[in-house]
């Protein structure tokens, strides 16, 4: 495990007072906040900065870190001596599993005891939240996905370590962005005769090249030929759960949205399918195509800017 220099991460000297640490953190948080930063490694840097601040802003953790880290250089292989933390009481601030899973193994090894020892002899295990990224198509067909979770786990000595476990999870058909799948008994183990907690999986959809979702609705761009848009047509549309034949009304313009009720995410009630028409022009590179365009230009007397004149 690599030693992490939290002082270096915040750019402060080892003897920096709390106010200086706070100031440095706030400056870096503005620089690397993923919502606004233009830096390409902003998310990674923000996690490092958050981790460093979680330690250096807490007097107990900082004192322990200073003691155990004496003489170590950044990146150097690190092994904490056994019972190095006796004499320290990490009463510190609470930290969620989702937050702790963002932090490094180094942090987990050092501060693993936090949060332990406050539960009754037969307490139910805590519920645990994890955020998972799924494919939009999973919502239409249901699926089984392998989900890797990094979660704090308490060992026999009461030390909490970051444990990676892999679960095959059945994704129910009809799941929507932001919904939570509850896996009973898959959370933290109970103490004594206490039952285990639940694992709550918060679902998010990863970007898909063709499909977008808005709540229960599925949004798809539908490319059509000019004659299909002008004359009307029935065209096939590939959806996550099969092919659907769509009637394009005559005179459909690019940008117009067609709504097919009940063909969005198959939730209860189901969402709608929204098809945005995009008229795609054939290129005029062949003599025949060119001739056809010239005929239209001559015979149709069409002015696409007639409505935009002032």
């Amino acid at each position: 495990m690599e030693f992490k220099d939290y002082y270096q991460a915040l750019g402060v000297p080892r003897k920096a007072p709390v106010e200086e640490i706070k100031k440095a953190y706030r400056k870096l948080a503005r620089k690397y906040h993923p919502d606004v930063s233009k830096e390409k490694d902003a998310e990674t840097r923000m996690k490092e900065v958050n981790e460093a601040y979680a330690v250096l802003s807490d007097p107990e953790k900082r004192a322990a870190y200073d003691q155990v880290g004496k003489g170590y250089q950044p990146g150097q292989d690190f092994r904490p001596p056994p019972d190095w933390d006796s004499g320290f009481e990490f009463s510190g601030r609470g930290m969620s599993g989702a937050e702790a899973s963002d932090f490094s193994d180094f942090f987990s090894e050092l501060f693993g005891r936090m949060g332990a020892g406050r539960r009754a002899a037969h307490a139910r295990g805590g519920d645990h939240l994890a955020r998972v990224s799924l494919d939009i198509t999973d919502a239409f067909t249901g699926s089984t996905r392998q989900v890797s979770l990094r979660a704090p786990k308490m060992d026999a000595n009461g030390r909490v370590t970051l444990d990676t476990r892999t679960l095959n999870v059945k994704i129910p058909k009809g799941i929507r962005e932001g919904q939570i799948i509850r896996l009973a008994g898959q959370g933290d183990p109970g103490l004594g005769e206490g039952k285990p907690g639940d694992l709550l999986l918060e679902v998010h959809f990863s970007e898909h090249p063709r499909y977008r979702v808005g709540g229960r609705d599925l949004l798809v761009t539908l490319p059509v030929a000019p004659w299909e848009a002008a004359l009307g047509a029935v065209v096939p549309v590939e959806l996550p759960d099969g092919t659907l034949k769509i009637r394009i009304p005559a005179g459909a313009q690019s940008g117009r949205q067609l709504r097919v009720r009940g063909r969005g995410i198959p939730a209860n009630p189901p969402g709608d399918l929204l098809l945005e028409i995009r008229v795609v022009l054939p290129d005029a590179s062949s003599p025949k195509a060119r001739e056809l365009y010239e005929t239209m230009a001559r015979d149709l007397a069409f002015d696409p800017r007639a409505d935009s004149e002032v």
Binding site: S96, G126, N168, G178, I181, G197, L199, E202
Partner: protein, 102 residues
């Protein structure tokens, strides 16, 4: 991993997290949540604490607000305003994505 290791779950309602579940999964004190709800910084349905239910969007909001209060010493009202703005930004970004512009 064999099929017998596959676990099935149930979809929770949009706002189904109890106060206890909410506080456990994001490690906030119940007192913190109650105070923020009573000050109108979270919108909940139900009249008593035991009836309150929360969604995943509320979890995200609480995490943001707590980070600002903890790391920036922000007043709860300021943290709530910042969370409002971030939610607005999330919504606008989602609209851009839906329009194929994100």
């Amino acid at each position: 991993m064999s099929d017998k290791d596959t676990v099935g779950g149930s979809i929770m309602e949009d706002a189904a997290l109890t106060v206890e579940q909410f506080c456990t999964v994001i490690a906030v004190e119940q007192e913190w949540l109650v105070r923020h709800v009573e000050e109108g910084l979270f919108t909940v349905s139900g009249t008593s604490v035991t009836e309150w239910r929360f969604s995943s969007a509320d979890l995200r909001r609480a995490e943001r607000m707590r980070m600002l209060e903890r790391n920036f010493d922000a007043a709860p009202e300021l943290a709530a305003l910042f969370a409002d703005l971030q939610e607005e930004m999330d919504e606008l970004r989602a609209r851009l994505r839906r329009a194929g512009l994100g």
